[in-house]
């Protein structure tokens, strides 16, 4: 379902200090109070790349995304996002950086007492966009995610997939350079999950670097792009796939059609289970 053509604007980077890298991790350790979350993680992501980050629950996927959003800072090593090194960065500049990063969650995290339109507009309001531009941008992104007609509804009046599309619209309205999606399909059925991943591909088509995490075995198997696998806080695999899959086919069809190398035995059953479970 998720396999797609290689991203046209996603050249491979040579290392952490490669100027083409939009995200660089260089021997990164991350320690929470009494628990080591990441250990010696090194990778780079090029501008416009689409990356799947996978691993079992608690492997360190969310920690990597938090480091990129500068919501956590490495205890060792260096994280560079958009040329800004985390360990040497003035904390006062973090909001500026976050305006270039969109974030999507498994549980959508919408404001329940505000309409779809207000949820999306909120992201523009807090960064000080003028009212006219907010109206224009909200209309643009809601049209792109196919929810303009439902702009006056409250989140609880939408399906899970629609709520996730609102979350993506909110993440995209500030035209970020990077979109981080933390288990965006975790609460969705396979068909809706495909819609969301297709939407993320469309976002990527427009030049935004997309990094999404999932522990869904089926999604990873059929994902035709770069896949980073983390386990126990360590990056254990960085695989660049080139698997052409029919974009028009359904999720289930694609999973069945996925080439042998990209599919593991038992893939015919659409189940959500950790890669290493």
């Amino acid at each position: 379902m998720t396999s797609r053509r290689p991203s046209p604007a996603a050249p491979e980077t040579s290392g952490p200090l490669d100027p083409r890298a939009i995200i660089s991790f260089h021997h990164v350790d991350l320690q929470y109070d009494d628990q080591k979350a990441l250990s010696n993680v090194t990778f780079t992501v090029a501008n416009g790349e689409f990356v799947c980050l996978t691993g079992p629950s608690g492997a360190g996927k969310s920690s990597i995304l938090r480091l990129i959003a500068m919501d956590a800072f490495p205890t060792k090593g260096q994280v560079i996002v958009r040329g800004m090194p985390a360990t040497r960065m003035n904390r006062g500049r973090v909001p500026q950086l976050r305006r270039e990063i969109g974030y999507v969650f498994q549980d959508f995290r919408l404001l329940e007492d505000r309409s779809v339109e207000d949820n999306v507009a909120f992201a523009q309001l807090v960064v000080g966009q003028p009212h006219k531009l907010i109206v224009k941008n909200v209309m643009r992104v809601l049209t792109q995610v196919g929810l303009y007609d439902k702009r006056h509804r409250l989140p609880r009046q939408l399906s899970g997939g629609e709520q996730q599309r609102v979350a993506i619209a909110r993440a995209m309205v500030n035209s970020p350079k990077i979109l981080l999606a933390d288990e965006p399909t975790g609460n969705l059925d396979p068909v809706t999950a495909q819609e969301i991943i297709d939407l993320l591909f469309r976002v990527n088509d427009a030049g935004t670097c997309v990094m999404f995490s999932t522990h869904d075995h089926e999604i990873v198997k059929t994902f035709g792009q770069r896949v980073l696998v983390v386990d126990g806080g360590t990056l254990i695999s960085d695989e660049r796939r080139r698997v052409p899959v029919d974009r028009s086919a359904s999720l289930v069809d694609n999973m069945y059609r996925a080439p042998e190398g990209a599919r593991s035995p038992g893939a015919r059953t659409v189940r959500k289970e950790p890669v290493h479970a």
């Binding site: 956590a72 904390r91 973090v94 976050r98 270039e100 974030y103 807090v126 909110r170 933390d182």
Partner: protein, 294 residues
């Protein structure tokens, strides 16, 4: 610089607590108003004691009784000498005959008793009053020490003892007020701080989203600071209003009761607003870090 939409949002969010947590916010304002009322009462009592003390100091005087064997010229020379002493304001001469007449008037029906005396027992005297700057124990004592050495003077009467006692009690009350005021101040900050913490906790999602989309800490904090200030303002106005009503009722029974001036009332409310601000700030220092806790 904020645009109109942001101002509108901040204004709306500053009053969000009044819409979303009516009971909590109402109770907070009442508790804070009670604490501030105690503070205001203490301040008002101190103010009234101060006024009473000032009035008492205004009545401070010195009476110099003079030898009765001095010539009129010699007695008259004392007046300019007294006026040259720093702190002396006015000097009034009372001769022995005038003093006797005054004494007779005070005796009223018993005045005929004075006829039994073979001579006027009352000496001539000077009545000395002080300038405003000299109406304090040290200055008055210094003047007394100087004039008592003069050979023309037989006795000096100074009505300072009760003023000293009043001053001592006023000082003690001021110290007690300061301690109680400090405790009330801390309690008020604690109450506001806890309310704002509740507000922050119940607004955790919106704060998280604001952080993730790149809102600055100042932008996130402003509504909470404003909420604390609004609560402080309302509590201050409530406390001052209650005190004004109580003072009006009491003033029928207590002559000369002094209430806060308009400027002092305004200052008290501004102080309450600042208290609200401090409480909010104390709450946010701990709860609003750069992390969004994704």
């Amino acid at each position: 610089m904020l645009n109109r939409a942001q101002w509108s949002y901040l204004a709306s969010e500053s009053f969000a607590g009044f819409r979303r947590r009516k009971l909590t916010t109402g109770v907070t304002i009442l508790i804070m108003a009670s604490a501030l009322l105690v503070l205001a009462v203490l301040t008002l009592v101190t103010l009234n004691l101060g006024t009473l003390l000032e009035t008492a100091r205004g009545g401070l005087d010195l009476r110099l009784y003079l030898r009765d064997d001095l010539s009129t010229e010699r007695l008259a020379e004392l007046r300019p000498r007294l006026l040259t002493i720093p702190g002396v304001d006015q000097v009034t001469w009372t001769d022995s005959e005038a003093a006797l007449a005054e004494f007779r008037r005070q005796l009223g029906d018993d005045a005929p008793l004075l006829e039994l005396l073979d001579r006027n027992p009352l000496p001539s005297s000077y009545h000395v009053t002080f300038t405003a700057g000299a109406r304090n124990p040290e200055a008055v004592r210094a003047i007394r020490e100087e004039v008592i050495r003069w050979e023309e003077v037989t006795e000096v009467l100074l009505n300072q003892e009760w003023v000293d006692a009043l001053e001592r009690w006023t000082f003690r009350f001021q110290m007690a007020s300061l301690v109680v005021g400090l405790l009330v101040f801390l309690a008020a900050i604690f109450v506001i701080s806890n309310t704002v913490k509740l507000t922050i906790a119940s607004s955790s999602r919106i704060i998280q989203i604001q952080k993730l989309v790149g809102a600055t800490n100042a932008f996130i904090r402003t509504p909470f600071l404003c909420e604390g200030m609004v609560q402080g303002f309302l509590a201050g106005v409530l406390a001052m209003g209650l005190l004004a009503v109580a003072s009006r009722i009491l003033s029928h029974n207590l002559d000369g009761l002094v209430f806060f001036s308009a400027a002092q009332s305004f200052g008290f409310v501004v102080f309450c607003v600042m208290l609200g601000l401090a409480g909010s700030w104390a709450a946010m220092r701990k709860y609003l870090t750069m992390r969004s806790d994704i």
